[in-house]
């Protein structure tokens, strides 16, 4: 089974994935890293807001909401 990279915002609710790469740079990248989105960290999509954006993710035990445009900067491999 090929492990493709998928941007985080496409991860369906209820699924988990592992972080492979962060495309963002600078302070935003730093913030994402500091929240625990390091290489091979597990992320789970918990739920979407009423309008579909942002989405709440479970990252290292904490629930963090990210907008789709920002989650798109995080590439993951989904766990099947």
């Amino acid at each position: 089974m090929t492990r493709e990279l998928m941007p985080l915002h496409e991860l369906p609710v209820g699924c988990t994935g592992k972080v492979m790469q962060i495309k963002a740079t600078g302070a935003i990248r730093r913030r994402m890293l500091d929240l625990g989105l390091t290489f091979s960290a597990e992320v789970a999509a918990l739920q979407k807001s009423p309008s579909g954006d942002p989405t709440a993710y479970l990252i290292r035990g904490a629930v963090i909401a990210l907008r789709a445009q920002d989650a798109a900067q995080i590439l993951i491999t989904p766990a099947h």
Binding site: A27, L33, D34, G52, R60, G61, A62, A65, L66
Partner: protein, 717 residues
């Protein structure tokens, strides 16, 4: 970052903690931690009322200090801003890092969330690299117990090499032991051996290569390895700070050092597989953190977050999320209005009785009538009005809001509403600052600090006044009751109409806020949307007693001080205008005559516009000024029944259109004096303060004009 804080009025230089300490001075304890760990509760529990808040110098980052005594020794507790990391991605983190690195507190206490140890250890491990005099405070242990998370704190202490104390700050558990640990570390009774993170060979070698060059320029008490790692990461804010604080050569400007950094980076590049130093650093820290958390925290009973997940699924769901939110807001308003009614009345009656006594005193003392008039009818009565109208609702609204904040619900509001604000070019947290504005716009403006990006913060500040504050509720309610509700029958339905009117006003205000935000973000405040990162903390049971006490006291003090500073002079001015006659008319009447053509264009009249202008210091005196003007009574007056008021207004040419325009203008006009002053303090820009004055006013004029003229054209009024 806590939302509900009293307006800050004190500016510190930020560096004076050390000067207070020294020989025989208090022991300086820095309090650090992630946001949402209950750090403020720890701070408040230890310092009680002996604290004050202010700003870090040059920044609008909140700063609190307090004192406590333990074992006969004085301690100065410095509450650092909540931060996820010291590797400075934001102003808060920079402040926290700079304090710990350069101010050298005697002890640093890091507050961690017992239910989320892994993430919290990121900051702990970073701090352990800077200072060894650390005590880790694992807070919210009651929450961990509830979620069946078992913690082995002694093991954690052994692994970290520093004392670890479990606390439940809300109930006061463990605080004594925390103070004891701080005492022992400060006195040297406990000598700590903090854990050092292993960064893996590539990074360690690169850092080791750089250390000698660093040692030349580094201050003696700053760890060279730590500094070398920061330089490899390319932390430019740290370099700027070094240059500023220590007047040492800027590492980035020293050629030898720059060359050393380049070669170390090249080494890293070769051996580290191309991954940036920053990534390697954070990855190593988290790997260590995860390893520790695995040994120390055990989640028994399977899914420990079941309740939170279920609640969130409901509260942020497509069908229930927003209706529940509106309903909750409605309930908050209903409680505020219904609950404030009776106390306001009582206060008003008490003030009135006092006024009569004072009046008798004045006559007995043979005081001239103008003195009695100015002091009593002018200043005293305005003061009395402002206090009796503002104090009860504020004393109810803000504690309720604090309750929701401590519950953890407010981030969910930002979560639900973010997409609206994003499409308006603003930030989801603006929903929260708007909500604060419903209590008091000055508080709402200060709350805008929770928005990191300056552009979006400014949008939130400029539009905050569209949210009607507690001071404008009476205007809206009274007019809605008369002209829409048909005279307010009965106390219960009266409250119901009142809440409905307020809710309708709020929906309208939200629409205007979003619209104006969008316009601003496409014209004067153009820019890209910032990164939106919102933590949704676990729901917690708020501690009712403490919230009520703190909020009540804060708000009461605020209202009283504002009454004295702002309302009293306003009262004097109004009295003077109403009693100084030039020719045939008083100054007040002259003003009204002058403004009348303008007023009627907007569906109002000259006296109403005068009232709005004179109500600049405090929104709640607008209707009383109108009443006073119509009755030519020369002093603020309360009419005892709605029917009387209705009669008075109708006699002076009011129609439903007038009421609607007055309500619309009340929602869309310049901020009150206190708010404008707060805006100036927060933005430190005359230009933006002027914009904050003009934008809502212009919006109001346009809206009222359109509504009035359209209605007249259609023959509706």
């Amino acid at each position: 970052m806590r939302l509900v804080k009293p307006p800050a009025g004190i500016k510190f230089s930020g560096d004076d903690s050390r000067s207070e300490a020294g020989r025989g001075g208090p022991i300086v304890v820095a309090l650090a931690g992630n946001p949402n760990t209950g750090k403020s509760t720890v701070f408040n529990s230890l310092t009680g009322m002996k604290q004050h808040t202010g700003n870090w110098s040059g920044k609008t980052v909140a700063h609190a200090r307090g004192r406590y005594s333990y074992r006969g020794q004085d301690y100065l507790l410095v509450d650092l801003p909540g931060s996820y990391s010291l590797l400075a991605a934001s102003a808060e983190e920079e402040v926290a890092r700079d304090y710990i690195c350069f101010e050298r507190p005697d002890v640093t206490v890091v507050v961690a969330d017992a239910t989320c140890l892994e993430r919290n250890l990121n900051l702990v491990l970073q701090i352990l690299e800077i200072t060894s005099r650390v005590v880790v405070c694992v807070n919210l242990i009651d929450e961990a117990e509830r979620k069946k998370i078992r913690l082995d704190l002694p093991l954690l202490s052994r692994l970290l090499g520093v004392p670890v104390v479990g606390t439940n700050a809300r109930d006061g558990r463990g605080l004594r032991r925390l103070q004891e640990a701080v005492y022992r570390v400060a006195s040297g009774e406990i000598s700590t051996k903090p854990l050092r993170v292993e960064y893996g060979r590539p990074l360690e070698e690169a850092a080791a290569q750089l250390v000698p060059a660093v040692r030349e320029i580094a201050p003696p008490d700053l760890d060279s390895r730590w500094l070398a790692l920061r330089l490899l990461e390319g932390d430019s804010s740290l370099c700027r700070t070094l240059e500023r604080r220590l007047k040492k050569i800027n590492p980035q400007k020293s050629e030898a050092l720059a060359a050393g950094i380049d070669s170390a980076r090249a080494l890293l590049e070769r051996q580290g597989g191309g991954r940036a130093a920053a990534d390697l650093v954070v990855a190593a820290i988290f790997k260590t953190a995860a390893g520790i958390a695995r040994q120390v925290a055990r989640a028994e009973g399977g899914n420990s977050r079941q309740w939170d997940r279920r609640l969130d699924r409901l509260l942020t769901s497509k069908s229930f999320g927003i209706p529940v939110m509106l309903a909750l807001l409605g309930v908050v308003f209903w409680i505020t209005l219904a609950g404030a009614n009776y106390p306001s009345q009582l206060l008003a009656e008490a003030f009135f009785r006092l006024e009569e006594r004072l009046g008798a005193l004045f006559s007995a003392a043979g005081a001239p009538p103008w003195l009695e008039g100015a002091l009593l009818s002018g200043i005293y009565r305005t003061l009395a009005w402002v206090i009796s109208v503002m104090l009860p609702p504020m004393a109810i609204f803000f504690p309720l809001f604090s309750y929701l904040e401590d519950l953890g619900y407010l981030p969910r509001v930002a979560f639900n509403l973010d997409s609206f604000f994003r499409r308006a070019g603003a930030h989801g947290k603006q929903a929260l600052t708007m909500c604060m504005g419903f209590g008091c716009n000055a508080a709402g403006v200060i709350a805008c600090r929770i928005i990191d990006s300056p552009r979006e913060r400014l949008i939130a500040v400029l539009t905050n006044n569209y949210a009607p504050c507690n001071g404008r509720f009476p205007t809206l309610i009274v007019l809605a009751s008369i002209f829409i509700g048909g005279g307010g029958a009965g106390a219960f339905s009266g409250s119901f109409i009142a809440a409905a009117a307020v809710l309708a006003a709020i929906v309208f205000a939200t629409a205007v806020t979003l619209g104006v935000s969008k316009i601003l973000s496409q014209t004067v405040l153009k820019g890209l949307p910032s990164t939106f990162v919102l933590e949704l903390p676990p729901y917690r049971k708020p501690h009712l007693g403490r919230i009520l006490a703190r909020s009540f006291v804060d708000r009461t003090l605020f209202v009283l001080s504002r009454a004295a500073i702002v309302a009293a002079p306003a009262g004097l001015l109004i009295w003077l205008l109403a009693h100084t006659t030039v020719g045939d008319f008083t100054l007040l009447q002259w003003g009204a005559r002058l403004l009348h053509p303008f007023g009627s264009l907007l569906g109002m009249d000259g006296y109403i516009v005068m009232a709005f202008l004179l109500g600049f210091p405090a929104n709640e005196i607008v209707i009383p000024i109108v009443i006073m003007s119509y009755l030519s009574s020369g002093a603020l007056l309360e009419l005892s029944s709605l029917e009387q008021l209705q009669g008075l207004l109708l006699d002076h040419g009011w129609s439903w259109l007038t009421a609607v325009c007055v309500m619309l203008f009340s929602l869309n006009h310049f901020p009150c004096g206190t708010t404008l002053l707060t805006i100036y303090r927060e933005t430190r820009s005359l230009k933006w303060t002027a914009a904050a004055f003009l934008i809502p006013t212009l919006t109001g004029m346009v809206i009222c004009f359109l509504v009035a003229q359209t209605a007249r054209l259609l023959g509706l009024a």
